[in-house]
């Protein structure tokens, strides 16, 4: 709880500072866009958070975003697949990837870092292979499908500002994830396993199955994210679509209070973390003239946030 308050305060500060430095920050267009991006990144961050809660890591998220984000338009336009079939394929691929990672990690006992690092290389390479590195996109077609991401829901009695459609997806995912984690037996088992895998196993919890589930959730939400991302931007280049998204997602989860040692994390925190990441990027674009230092600024802010958190925690422990 304290962590969420801290990160929310930081988010507020960054928003206020950005608003003070840039007139366009509070414009309806910018805010809508910001909310849309936050929703998209929030979805993949929640996925990664499930893996982090078990004490694992998923580095393949960005490449799964690329695989689904490029694969779906490629199937639809280049191969003329019907929409339901293409979406089905996306589900099969992302769930399959999660199962594949989970099996390697629980059955062969390979380190999650290595398994998902290889995944990161694999899925991007595969995507670049089948698309022959060509940009894929919807052009002027599939307007209906694209509404999933580009659509807007008007707010009654408010004009000039509406809620971007991906926010609805985020809300659904977040509520489902929150209920799962906090109210169900499996969610409790997941937290228990993340805190102390051995004790969880000694208590009769099927830790292998729960770990697999976490990786399936992670890659499934990465797949959903990839689909929504490409529907939003209309076209994707396999070479860099979703590049570094795993790091944005992991950073959002960690900022939002997930411990990389496992067993700790809240869904609300992760969403606030994802929002902070996006506001930071937005600030850099609006306020500075050189986008090229974006990574440096994001790195510095995350580092100072984590350091501050650790210092506060130590002081509390001593008190």
């Amino acid at each position: 709880m304290r962590k969420i308050l801290g990160i929310s305060a930081l988010l507020l500060v960054v928003c206020v500072v950005t608003a003070a430095l840039s007139n366009s920050f509070l414009s309806a267009y910018n805010l809508e866009n910001l909310i849309r991006r936050t929703a998209l990144f929030g979805i993949i961050s929640i996925g990664v958070a499930f893996v982090i809660v078990t004490g694992g890591i998923d580095l393949s998220v960005g490449s799964v975003v690329c695989l689904v984000g490029c694969g779906v338009p490629w199937l639809l336009t280049t191969h003329g697949w019907p929409v339901p079939l293409a979406l089905m394929m996306a589900v099969v691929a992302s769930v399959g990837i999660g199962l594949f990672h989970g099996l390697l990690i629980t059955r062969l006992r390979l380190p999650p870092f290595v398994v998902t690092l290889c995944g990161l290389l694999l899925y991007r390479g595969i995507t670049r292979g089948f698309t022959r590195d060509q940009t894929v996109g919807f052009g002027a077609e599939f307007k209906g499908l694209r509404l999933l991401s580009t659509g807007e829901i008007p707010i009654p009695f408010v004009s000039g500002f509406s809620i971007p459609a991906p926010w609805i997806f985020l809300l659904g995912v977040a509520i489902a994830a929150g209920v799962f984690l906090n109210r169900t037996v499996y969610g409790r088992h997941l937290l228990a396993l993340g805190s102390n895998e051995q004790a969880a196993r000694f208590s009769g919890i099927n830790t292998g199955r729960m770990t697999m589930l976490a990786y399936v959730i992670s890659s499934s939400l990465a797949g959903l994210g990839g689909l929504l991302f490409v529907l939003d931007v209309n076209s994707a280049q396999p070479v860099d679509f979703g590049n570094f998204y795993e790091l944005y997602a992991i950073a959002a989860a960690v900022l939002g209070g997930c411990s990389l040692r496992g067993g700790e994390g809240t869904i609300v925190g992760v969403i606030v973390g994802a929002a902070l990441m996006q506001v930071l990027r937005n600030m850099i674009t609006l306020v500075t003239t050189h986008n090229n230092i974006e990574f440096a600024i994001i790195g510095a802010v995350i580092l100072s946030g984590v350091v501050a958190d650790e210092l506060v925690r130590r002081r509390l422990r001593r008190a």
Partner: protein, 495 residues
């Protein structure tokens, strides 16, 4: 040469030392004995600089010193030989001896000098191994001697041994005693912690007894007597401490036939436990007790044999299956296997029963709270509330939380592995009382313990193990310390 006065140390939930003192002379073997939780290990860690005391002072050669770290302690000539050896298996003997103090020649490690100097130290304690041998290839006894050589290489004048023989064969132990006597004659002061009173009697010049974090007495060489030591350690009569009332056993609850564990696949074990019966499993470290219990509970599934629980065949392949069959295990390592330290008492107690008590996959919070409240009152768990994080409970209360987790499932058979390790005497007493009570309710209880007094006081029968085999079974009438030890060391065959 070494004196400690009025040392105190408390951990969250436990006062480990309440003002302990000891003095050590040159060329003396001082044994420190006491039950688990008496404060021996904490005292040794303070003397070796691993931990700092809350209050109290330490003098070396009459000079007041601070021991904020192991390095400072070593600088003053104090070295601790750990119970678990601290050697790097992949490095050779010489590299281990000079670890952290490497001799350097032109910026590179001077291997030749390492080997030569290591050889001198090894020779001085009569260990005949090549200093270039990787430590992982040595036996445990040899590794321990390497630790001693390492301590001597930093000119240690005080050596602290923490349960040094717990994993040694009797031959290796005899060799260690020879080395310790040799060191004593050279003027080294030796602090020797052991549970094994026989060893203490054989080796010690003087005995300091600790109980509940306080000095409980001191014995000179001539006064060292087994019964006297036990009385001082326990602080009351054993018969009063263990008020065991044998039950008339009910039907067979656990039937083990030809069970072979992955650790000792060449030996098959068979036995039965009846409802209402408390059966002890005795043996030295490495006798295969934990392996047997873990095989029964499906942690490391057995490789052969049959297990019947309440007459139903079930050889569990996982703890999940074992629990479904009516088994429960209070594991050996409470903090790593028993409780989830970061979680609340309530969540720990409900962990195993959570699925049973759920409604369509959702946690039933009312039932969960009810269960936690019931267990807190039934077991007398001392906690401010059921939302207290288990980390902040004392060891005894943590162990009660583990028991509570299993009692929620009403198991037919309760397995316990070292159920009172590292908890204080009062809490031990309560755990014993709970075991008695459960037996009375008809649970079949099988418990492994390294503390012979505990087994002799509590068990209706004892199974004695040695190197993966059950070497004998003794009824309550036939149970004596000697009989158990003979079977445990397998020096004498008893039919």
């Amino acid at each position: 040469m070494l004196q400690a006065i009025g040392l105190t140390k408390s951990y969250p939930g436990v006062q480990a030392l309440k003002g302990v003192g000891l003095t050590l002379q040159r060329g003396e073997v001082l044994a420190v004995i006491g039950e688990n939780g008496a404060g021996k290990s904490t005292l040794m860690k303070i003397l070796a600089g691993v931990q700092t005391p809350d209050t109290g002072s330490i003098e070396v050669d009459g000079r007041l010193v601070e021991l904020p770290s192991v390095v400072e302690a070593q600088g003053l000539g104090i070295a601790l030989i750990h119970q678990e050896l601290n050697l790097a298996d992949n490095l050779d003997v010489a590299a281990n001896i000079f670890l952290g103090r490497e001799r350097v020649l032109n910026g590179l490690i001077d291997t030749r000098r390492h080997l030569a100097e290591a050889k001198v130290h090894l020779d001085s304690i009569g260990l005949d191994v090549d200093p270039a041998t990787p430590v992982g290839l040595l036996s445990l006894g040899q590794q321990q001697l390497v630790e001693i050589a390492k301590a001597l290489s930093v000119d240690a004048r005080v050596l602290i041994f923490d349960e040094p023989t717990s994993s040694l064969s009797s031959g290796e132990a005899a060799n260690l005693f020879r080395v310790i006597r040799e060191l004593r004659s050279r003027g080294v002061g030796i602090v020797y912690i052991s549970h094994r009173l026989g060893e203490v009697k054989e080796l010690a010049d003087r005995v300091v007894v600790l109980r509940d974090g306080e000095n409980a007495g001191e014995l000179q060489r001539s006064e060292i007597e087994h019964g006297v030591m036990v009385r001082m350690m326990v602080g009351r009569d054993l018969s009063q401490f263990y008020a065991h009332v044998p039950q008339s056993p009910g039907p067979v609850r656990l039937e083990v036939e030809g069970l072979r564990t992955a650790a000792h696949p060449e030996h098959a074990v068979s036995f039965r436990v009846h409802a209402g019966e408390i059966v002890g499993v005795a043996g030295l470290v490495g006798a295969g007790r934990t392996e047997m219990l873990e095989a029964l509970f499906g942690v490391t599934p057995a490789v052969g044999g049959s297990v019947r629980v309440g007459g139903v065949a079930s050889r569990p392949a996982s703890p999940e299956e074992a629990i479904a069959a009516g088994l429960a295990l209070v594991p050996e390592d409470r903090k790593r296997q028993g409780v989830i330290l970061q979680m609340a008492v309530r969540e720990n107690v409900s962990l195993a029963a959570l699925r049973r008590d759920s409604r369509r996959g959702f946690v039933d919070r009312a039932r969960e709270e009810g269960l936690a409240a019931a267990m807190i009152s039934k077991l007398g768990i001392k906690t401010p509330s059921d939302r207290q994080v288990v980390q902040f409970l004392s060891g005894g209360n943590q162990q009660k939380v583990v028991l509570g987790k299993w009692l929620a499932l009403k198991p037919q058979v309760l397995l316990l592995d070292e159920p009172t390790r590292g908890i204080d005497v009062g809490a031990k007493h309560e755990i014993y009382r709970l075991m008695e009570e459960l037996a009375k309710e008809g649970v079949a209880i099988l418990f492994a313990s390294s503390e012979l007094e505990e087994i002799l006081g509590l068990a209706d029968r004892v199974l004695v193990m040695h190197e993966g085999r059950i070497t004998g079974e003794l009824s309550r009438e036939a149970m004596t310390e000697e009989a158990v030890l003979h079977l445990a060391t397998d020096t004498l065959k008893v039919d």
